[in-house]
Symmetry: C2
Subunit: 301 residues, 2 copies
């Protein structure tokens, strides 16, 4: 079952205490689409400028991602530059240039309007809604978001939340969106805004899945001694989640839990190298091997 992924596609400059790299492939849709592609076919909706490097497009091709929805507009690709502090937990944005992204009006190829599994990657909620309004027969729609939209476009986000099946966001964003200091209360409060499910990502501490019918699932992250670049981990999580969900077609709570674990695993690989370099060489066999180790880490009875 094809997964439709919409979001940003960017050229990133990323600096960590250990290294610095320029013109990396970045953006929420790039990470999510590549992560989802490990589980089945992916349709990518996004926009780039005329400067978008052929080697980045080649990665989408290698991963057999359908780029019929990838628009090329005159001008430059969206650029982001950021720097991570020691221990990689905090980052600051050094610069943003929206470029062609400013004119992004997502339009779906006609056949794609029937896509059943949809990831509205992290972009403005109004753009996420624009995509959603073009969809005709969705089975499961996931929206990702970030603090920027909670601060700048909360009414749009709340409107969107009435129409999606799941919201994915991180712990500080969940607290920001709800005003709740307790993460369990925050997760449950978001269910009150409309989505049937909420996933709260906690980085190195794993993720929480809340179900409006009372279900709850908590998983640890895969333990890593070395992290090179946390950029895109959340997008990879969301992409692998929707990819695994679509591949299995099991929308029960048990099925959702399994998809959360896949999200956790693919995200854990992604942070091992800059940009999408680790996912470029990643295989399903490696994911399965790590899944086996991960299961042992969590099992106690």
């Amino acid at each position: 079952m094809s997964v439709l992924v919409v979001g940003s596609i960017a050229l990133d400059d990323v600096k960590t205490p250990a290294a610095e790299h320029k013109d990396l492939l970045g953006g929420s849709a790039s990470y999510a689409a590549v992560a989802a592609s490990f589980y089945g076919p992916v349709r990518l909706v996004g926009v780039v400028g005329e400067d978008f490097p052929p080697e980045h497009r080649a990665l989408f091709d290698e991963r057999k991602i359908d780029t019929a929805g990838l628009e090329v507009l005159p001008g430059k690709t969206f650029r982001w530059s950021g720097e991570y502090e020691e221990n990689l937990n905090n980052r600051k944005t050094l610069s943003i240039a929206l470029n062609v992204f400013e004119k992004f009006q997502p339009k779906l190829p006609t056949a794609w309007k029937q896509s059943e599994y949809v990831l509205l990657g992290n972009i403005a909620p109004s753009l996420q809604m624009q995509v959603l309004k073009q969809m005709e027969h969705t089975k499961f729609v996931v929206a990702d978001t970030m603090d920027l939209w909670i601060n700048l476009a909360k009414p749009d986000l709340l409107e969107l939340l009435k129409r999606v099946d799941m919201l994915i966001l991180n712990d500080s964003e969940a607290k920001l969106l709800t005003g709740e200091g307790n993460l369990i209360r925050a997760g449950r409060a978001i269910l009150g805004f409309g989505p049937r499910y909420v996933i709260v990502k906690k980085g190195e501490h794993g993720a929480l899945l809340f179900d409006a019918q009372g279900g709850f699932f908590s998983t640890s992250a895969y333990p890593l001694e070395v992290i090179h670049d946390p950029t895109g981990a959340g997008d990879c999580f969301a992409g692998a989640f929707i990819g695994a969900l679509a591949a299995a077609g099991d929308l029960s709570f048990a099925g959702l839990k399994k998809a959360v674990v896949q999200g956790t695993l693919v995200a854990s690989f992604n942070v091992e190298e800059f940009s999408l370099r680790r996912l470029q060489t990643l295989t399903r066999a490696e994911i399965q091997e790590r899944e086996g180790a991960f299961l042992k880490h969590l099992t106690f009875s």
Copy 2:
């Protein structure tokens, strides 16, 4: 199998954003001994002053804790006063009065020297060592510690670590002790100091168990919407851990994992009320019921 618990016994004044209580039963040994008592007999080694309230001693009696090692010295009981910030994650110590604790020289009743399961609760490493040197046939010795001792008595602590089976400490203490910013590296680095096992507690994010032979276990915390007083959660974790371990007598890695889960469960009850009030009414049936819910939260295959 009896568990020997040594540590501090205190009268606490605790203030949270929601409430303030005075003259509460506190101290690492109080929490740990009561937590351990849900699994089997407990021997308590500690010191109090002549002002120690009969109702606090009555709790030890109710829980059938053997207080033959509880010394009463002329003077006042150790006092601690602290205040929690909004969301209860940070606390500051407002005052400390060591009182009789300053003269504490733990001496074990002769029969207790044969205790096989020992929890060296959070006190100065030199006092923990003094207890350990009196023990004759230990099977499993756990030491707890805190940032104070890492900063003030690191050589003593490192000496102790050569002689215990397990160290329990929290995430920031693990980083402080090792100088490692990454928690997985920090946990493994501590194994290099001597203990075969290390548990890193992460509060609301659960706990990590490291085995010098490469084993690893990660568990979430039990999800709580309301926390009234986090004081003693770590001590309860350690107490329930050693109590459950002694009761089962299973020192395999699988046995340790199960004891970690019991530690997590009892700690989750303890924070629901001030001091040891929740554990005062807690039953084994309640622990088992929560264990069932907890298992469902973590299971995904």
